[in-house]
Amino acid sequence: MSQSLRIALIDWNTSVRSARRAILDATENITVVFESDGSKDQLTQLPDLLVDVIVIDQQLDSKTGVDAFLTLRQSYEELSEIPKAVLTTVFDITSLRVQALGAGMHDVVSIDSGPDGLINAIRSAASAEPVIDLAELAKLLTETPPIFKSSFELSQAVITLPVRKKGLIEKLAEEWPKIKAGSKPKLSLEQYQPLALSLGFLSASEFVIKLMQNGVLDAK
């Protein structure tokens, strides 16, 4: 018997939260170990609960789900301890998806995905397999270009990379315009997962979005 996934459920809407809890409780190998409306006091307990996946709604009482996750991720001491996060939302909006992936969240599930969509997203988050491929990510970023935020630390980290790993980024930078133009990518996001984690990112998606934000991918 496989180990049960420990879930933290964060939603400001009590009724929706309890309904989601009922769904998750009725699902095999999933246990809701933490429930909150998103208030700061409650969220501070989270790092001690060894949660596998956080299901967090975009609408919380005082801030957005993405912002709450960014705050939450700082409260973990080790990158490996940070649980994967699934953002739940009413409408699936491209800009929100980019924002969530850029914040290191694993996936975004809108209300019309139904219980199966939510459960699949949780399972996929727990296995850490990317839910989006490079072509889809490029398409998302073309539709909603992220705001450019230059990070000196990222630039330094890229410069000091060993030649082999740096070559992987150069390859991506070379391929990126073609992928954005609609060509089938010769690369996959999985290839970048170890590199992303080694550079302090939660996912390959977050890493690629950060590279894009720093102009690495669009540099001529």
Partner: protein
């Protein structure tokens, strides 16, 4: 001629000219004889053209000056009419003709004085001067010119002053009106912004409730497989959330429609009688007539008809004076329903605007052609037309020359087959 005067609204100028002729010509006739009365005619006529055809004012002054030289006339009290012409030109004439005419008045007065100073018969018996020497004539010319120039200058400046005061008062009035309009618009905008903000909040709340409905319904379906009671509990929550969403949507509806009449039931053809009453209370006459064999209409068509009549009579109130008659004719034909809304606003205005002959203001063939060629456009008409066209019908809106405005809407109808 009368038509020309009526069209160009010459009455004030004609009255002014006649008054000037009567006063100054009369003074001339009384003090210097009938020939001097005739000499004042061109100057009186000069005031006739100060507003329109201003160049004729200068021409009349030239004629007057020429007659003075021709008849070797001496300055008379009646020549004071020139100061009045300068005043009137200052008030009513626009540049450059104002400057030209004031200079023409000044020039005329100098010519009259020069002509008088060269007149061999020049004498001022009241001042004891029987005969003028050359120096005396020069002094007479200089003093006379200075006096005349000063008087005319004063009159022209006075005229400008009166004009400026009038414009200033008008400007102040316009500014007050504009300020009050701006205040009203700002207030309305603020209300709308607030309403929009509230609507946004309510919409957000409604979305949350709908999310709750969906999630609970899904949870009910999902969990009912394991525990049927859980399905029932979820159903309770669905009902609660649905009711909350409904009440939120109701509030949203009321907020968005605030300022318009919200009725529990949509308006029908019977509701038109309420409009009749409202119009009468507002001082307008309204009558509704029905003819033909009536059939039951779709409620949305009845709403559309009500809205069209409502919009048309709203226009009547906006553009026509009280006392205007509005007739609404609803006629059922075999395959169509016609709604005609007519008003006689133009006729009411025309009858109240009586000309000097005591008859209503006339109109001619040009007005007819203009009305026939004019395409009536506007957001209200477009909205009405769109309403009718959504039922496959058509709408015509037309001015009726000398009478008012007519809106005619034709809706297709289907009569039930009779066995």
């Amino acid at each position: 001629m009368i038509r020309w005067i009526l069209d160009t609204k010459w009455i004030p100028e004609i009255a002014l000219s006649l008054i000037l002729l009567a006063v100054f010509g009369g003074i001339n006739a009384a003090t210097s004889g009938i020939s001097y009365f005739l000499l004042s005619i061109p100057f009186a006529l000069a005031s006739l053209f100060v507003r329109k055809y201003s160049y004729l004012t200068g021409a009349m002054l030239f004629v007057g000056a020429a007659l003075h030289i021709g008849f070797s006339a001496v300055p008379s009290f009646g020549n004071l009419v020139l100061a009045v012409v300068a005043f009137v030109a200052g008030v009513f004439t626009s540049n450059p003709w104002r400057v030209i005419n004031i200079l023409a008045v000044s020039g005329t007065s100098f010519v009259i004085i020069a002509s008088a100073s060269n007149n061999p018969n020049l004498s001022l018996p009241n001042l004891g001067v029987i005969e003028f020497t050359d120096t005396g004539r020069l002094v007479f010319f200089i003093v006379g010119s200075i006096l005349a120039g000063s008087l005319i200058g004063l009159a022209a400046v006075g005229g400008r002053l009166v004009r400026e005061q009038y414009l200033q008062r008008q400007f102040q009035g316009n500014r007050k009106y504009s300020n009050s309009q701006q205040d009203e618009i700002s207030l309305e905008l603020a209300e709308q912004a607030k309403r929009f903000e509230m609507a946004g909040d309510m919409n957000e709340s409604a979305v949350q409730h709908i999310s709750s409905v969906i999630t609970n319904a899904e949870a009910g379906l999902y969990t009912a497989k394991l525990d049927p009671d859980a399905g029932l509990r979820a159903l309770d929550k669905v009902l609660l959330s649905a009711k909350a969403a409904h009440s939120e949507l109701r509030r949203l509806y009321e907020t968005i429609n605030r300022g318009t009449v919200i009725s529990t039931a949509p308006p029908t053809l019977e509701s038109l009688s309420a409009l009749e009453l409202t119009m009468r209370e507002a001082g307008y006459n309204m009558s509704i007539t029905y003819s033909g064999s009536r059939v039951e209409l779709d409620s949305s068509m009845e709403v559309a008809i009500y809205r069209i009549v409502f919009e048309a009579i709203k226009n009547v109130r906006q553009h026509n004076p009280k006392g205007t008659m509005v007739t609404v004719e609803i006629t059922w034909f075999e395959t169509s329903l016609q709604v005609i809304i007519r008003d006689n606003g133009v006729e009411v205005v025309r009858k109240s605007d009586v000309g000097i002959n005591g008859l209503p203001a006339p109109y001619d063939a040009t007005d007819d052609i203009d009305n026939l060629l004019e395409k009536v456009i506007g957001p209200g008409i477009t909205a009405m037309r769109e309403r009718v066209e959504s039922f496959g019908g058509s709408l015509e809106a037309q001015r009726v020359v000398g009478v008012g405005f007519t809106v005619s809407a034709l809706f297709p109808i289907i009569r039930p087959k009779q066995d």
